[in-house]
Amino acid sequence: MAFEALAGISGDLITTSWIASKKAYQTERYHKEEAGTVVIFAFRPSFTAEDLFAPANISSFGEIKMNRVQFPCMRKIGKGDEATVNEVFLRNLEVIIDPRTSFYASVEMAISSRKQIVFTGHSSGGATAILATVWYLEKYFIRNPNVYPEPRCVTFGAPLVGDSIFSHALGRENWSRFFVNFVTRFDIVPRIMLARKASIEQTLPHVLGQLDPRNPSIQESDQRITEFYTTVMRDTSTVANRAFCELTGSAEAFLETLSSFLELSPYRPAGTFVFSTDNRLVAVNNSDAILQMLFYTSQARDEQEWSLIPFLSIRDHHSYGELVQSMGMKLFNHLDLHQCLLDGQNSIGSWLNELGVSTRGRQYVLAALEEEKKRVENQKKIENKWPQIVKELSWIENEYKPKCQAHKNGYYDSFKVSNEENDFKANVKRAQLAGIFDEVLGLSKKGQLPDEFEGGRDWVELATRYRRLIEPLDIANYHRHLKNEDTGPYMIRGRPNRYIYAQRGYEHLILKPEGRIAEDVFWNKVNGLNLGLQQEIQEILKNSGSECGSCFWAEVEELKGKPYEEVEVRVKTLEGLLGGWITAGEVDDKEIFLEGSTFRKWWITLPLNHKLHSPLREHMMDEIRAT
């Protein structure tokens, strides 16, 4: 079945998931079901207002940042912002994943028998399923993707859980494909989190009562429901239009001014959404397009439908059973960029038409897909520049560095004096590379690259090679022009963002299989040096070049002008970390110990007692003997 190929999950498993989800209504927290090599965990939904908006949360949307230590992947790597999720949903997950729970034990058991896990749920049970899947991915899957089976997450009419960073992070890690969210056309629940708490507070408890599947009777002309529906859709429209304007970059300055007056829901669709019509299922993975569809599929075709929609917006939340049952008979289509290019938008138009999307609405959906095309094109443009990057880096590596080494001072010091023609050539290459990497940085900051780009191993490795090789030249340049005296230390005023982003990308890539974050690893290493109280050390090492191996020279330059007594801790930290940097390839030991190197010259001036106990004494034997 085409469905399985595209959604990675079979129709049978979806049916089983739905049945399990229904069974979960009666449980305290979750229902477990085994089906062959698969274990299904279905979570119980809740229909009380406190289970949508945390009562103590003062934000209009009840959101909270994800904990970085627990969810190291759920953030923007370069900029470092953590993903935002609904606070109650997260708290709910935390209760469930406590190591003392039966749930935790069952997951451990499923894992030890290498069974595939499906997390599922109806309504807010789906929200728990989404977070449980993320937890599984961070805690187990990432440690060893070859051993642990891929999880699946199947939700039915679930509310939105996380913000655009949440969706971006799933995309970057190539995890989006594990999430399949079914949405019947008018179901209000997937739209609820786009509304402000204050605007729906009054009607929410009543509507939730109606949404509860254990409540069999819905009234057709219920004014409160109409009011609720109208409010939610109005806010949905605000979010969708705002997102569209931002995406297409129109009237940027005006949009910024206007936005300080708007309260905008942070929540965005993540993973694949499957919208259903009478005879078709349409799957979409593009978060921007899904957001537009959440608004436009729930518009009325005519007056008559208009009066019915509020009722349908409740009823459709109950109609997932029918959807699952009829799934085998329905056509299945994938609405994506590829399809868009393939048939010139014709069939997409008719699918969207079936979903009740107006002509105008269709244009918004397609325009959102068009933006994805631009992102892919941007990536291609950058990839076309790879050969040039490699060429310039190779010249530095194979021509420039060896020649400088022959002069016994290394390329850092040679560049700092810049007396040779090669130094000049290197300077030109430095500027050329800066141009390329700044361009990538600009695109990445504006979200104009595909999510996967930032986490791509090839790119991260290239950026790392660039950072290790060229950042010393930037540091040399900074000190050659004495900018440290004019504007301040390199680490505070001079370090370009292109290196910071490259450093974070690298750290993420190597640390994520261990589930650790760079700050912790760094402080662990520093604490291992036993230089004193952690708090004091932290204060001393704030903004020091020891934070990153490619900033080695910046730290040397800073330390070199200061009396040893003042900077003892910093000197010892630098020496203590150096060995690790050399092994990792962050610092080139063929360079720094050369006779004419600034580092060596400075190190010689350190007090004898320090030198005798220094971990570097092996490298500096001649110097120690001489004294």
Partner: protein, 525 residues
């Protein structure tokens, strides 16, 4: 069917503005005041402040306009005659305002000043401010917002001015000034379609929300706004309460209708396209750094053969020999072209926006000026021309120097720093050297009867130059390269020494030169 993306963007923005509810909040306060029995009695300006939960609303009420007056008041750039001097740009040093609105504004100047400090406090407490008004009240609200914007820290949230069917307040100069400023984003003018707004003299700025029957669009392009607002009804007669209600009813329904004529859309897209093709100074800054690296290298190589890059460039221009020299000329052309464009862009902006120009632009621009202007001077004097300082400088140098001087950065320089890479602060230094050489030439070629008066005059010029040079040496603001063997400056010194002879009393400078102290000038001590 409209299919173009700009039409989509216009309606998305329109829907966003509508669903934000800001129009309703503003209008309900405006109509509240208009309905109250106290309004319309006074012929002056009324101001009312509402402190709402999420934002503060300031409503301006003005008497109705009886004649559709198109009187305008010209405001020159000078401070005392213009409450908006900060808006003037290099290109548009003055502009005109709608007289009735301006009169109302100045009549209430005192209370407006008080209001300003109050609103600034509000903004500093992170609470956004809406300034609004209908008809002439909206025009005064716009003026007031323009005035307020000057004092707002760019880091704070910008206020939003919402007007309903208000007459336009500024001429084409003001439009041009604002078009290049972020302030343009603070104005939202709500106007019903099919109305007419006088545009013969006054021109639109800001964003327009144009309301059709049940739909609306948001447009920034002033040409398209002009094209769309040429209806027959008087915009001041429209009941905007009703307009908003109609829009509201159809917000969630699906009805699609064509709002903007295809020709208007097409024009808008063409202009938008032109805008993207416009010069992007950020993109090319890195390329310019490469060109600067070449010239820096050139300078270094010249120094190695004991000739300053100034003199080398001058001789190579006359007898180009190496490819490298030709390349340098091309880099110079590139750099000049780039910085000329940057300066042109900046000159369109209101004066007070220039400080926003990123620091690195000011620093890079300053570096460029100090590095490249000497080469322009070399070219200039090689062509036999004179008086560079007063009649030869390109505008970009003058402006870059001016802006750099305006920046409040007091650079603390270490006294004993090595100056070998220093670029002479006064980028016109070499022009003065050339002028002094010309003077020496004139003194040496005196034929016939000696003209004492003339000689005294010329000699005084030389002494002035000496004093100027000494001042720069004393402050360590001149590059040590001027003392290189083959430099024009040393040529001047040799001649000057002869002219001065041994009769005149020694000066600090002559001593500095005669004792050879200059040889160690600029070395780190």
């Amino acid at each position: 069917m409209e299919s173009s993306s700009s039409s989509l963007k216009c309606s998305a923005l329109g829907k966003l503005v509508l669903s934000s509810g800001l129009l309703h909040s503003s209008w309900s306060k405006i109509s509240e005041i208009h309905k109250s029995p106290y309004s319309n009695q006074d012929s002056g300006l009324g101001i009312k402040i509402y402190r709402e939960e999420k934002f503060t609303l300031v409503v301006f009420v003005a008497p109705p306009i009886f004649t559709s007056s198109s009187d305008s008041t010209l405001l020159p750039g000078k401070e005392n005659e213009n409450p908006f001097p900060f808006l003037c740009s290099e290109n548009n040093p003055s502009f005109s305002l709608h007289t009735p609105a301006f009169k109302l504004f100045t009549s209430a100047y005192k209370s407006l000043t008080y209001l300003k400090s109050e609103l600034l406090q509000t903004l500093e407490s992170e609470k956004p401010v809406i300034i609004t008004g209908a008809s002439l009240g909206g025009s005064v609200a716009s003026l007031y917002t323009l005035w307020l914007l000057d004092t707002i820290d760019p880091k704070l949230k910008r206020p939003l001015c919402i007007t309903f069917g208000s007459p336009l307040i500024g001429d084409v100069s003001l439009q041009q000034i604002l078009e290049n400023s972020v302030r343009n984003s603070c104005f939202l003018h709500v106007v019903a379609a099919q109305t007419r707004i006088r545009m013969d003299f006054f021109k639109p700025f800001g964003t327009f929300l144009i309301c059709f029957d049940s739909r609306c669009v948001c447009i920034e392009d002033p040409v398209a706004v002009t094209e769309l607002l040429n209806g027959v009804h008087d915009s001041e007669q429209v009941d905007y309460g009703q307009v908003l209600r109609r829009l509201d009813q159809s917000m969630l329904s699906m009805a699609d209708s064509r709002l903007i004529p295809e020709a208007v859309i097409k024009g808008m897209e063409e202009r938008a396209e032109m805008k993207t093709l416009r010069f992007d100074m950020f993109k090319k800054l890195n390329d310019m750094k490469i060109s600067m690296a070449y010239i820096e290298w050139y300078k270094k190589k010249c120094r190695d053969v004991k000739i300053g890059y100034y003199d080398r460039f001058k001789t190579q221009l006359a007898f180009p020999s190496k490819e490298f020299d030709i390349k340098i000329k091309n880099h110079k052309i590139e750099l000049n072209r780039y910085w000329k464009s940057v300066v042109e862009e900046v000159e369109k902006k209101p004066q007070s926006d220039i400080s926003i120009l990123k620091r690195r632009f000011l620093f890079s621009g300053n570096n460029y000026r100090r590095m490249i202007e000497p080469l322009d001077i070399a070219e200039y004097y090689l062509e036999g021309r004179k008086e560079y300082r007063t009649s030869g400088r390109s505008r970009q140098y003058v402006m870059l120097e001016k802006w750099f001087g305006m920046e409040p950065i007091e650079k603390e320089r270490r006294k004993n720093r090595d100056l070998s890479d220093l670029l002479t602060f006064d980028s016109c230094f070499w022009a003065d050297v050339e002028e002094s050489l010309i003077v020496i030439n004139q003194l040496n070629t005196t034929v016939g009867v000696r003209d004492d008066a003339r000689e005294v005059l010329l000699t005084r010029k030389l002494v002035e130059f000496e004093e100027y040079v000494w001042e720069m040496i004393r402050k360590r603001e001149v590059s040590p390269e001027i003392f290189l063997e083959k430099s024009s400056f040393m040529k001047w010194w040799k001649e000057y020494k002869k002219i001065k002879g041994f009769n005149s009393p020694p000066s600090y400078f002559t001593e500095f030169m005669n004792t050879g102290k200059y040889k160690s000038y600029g070395q780190s001590q």
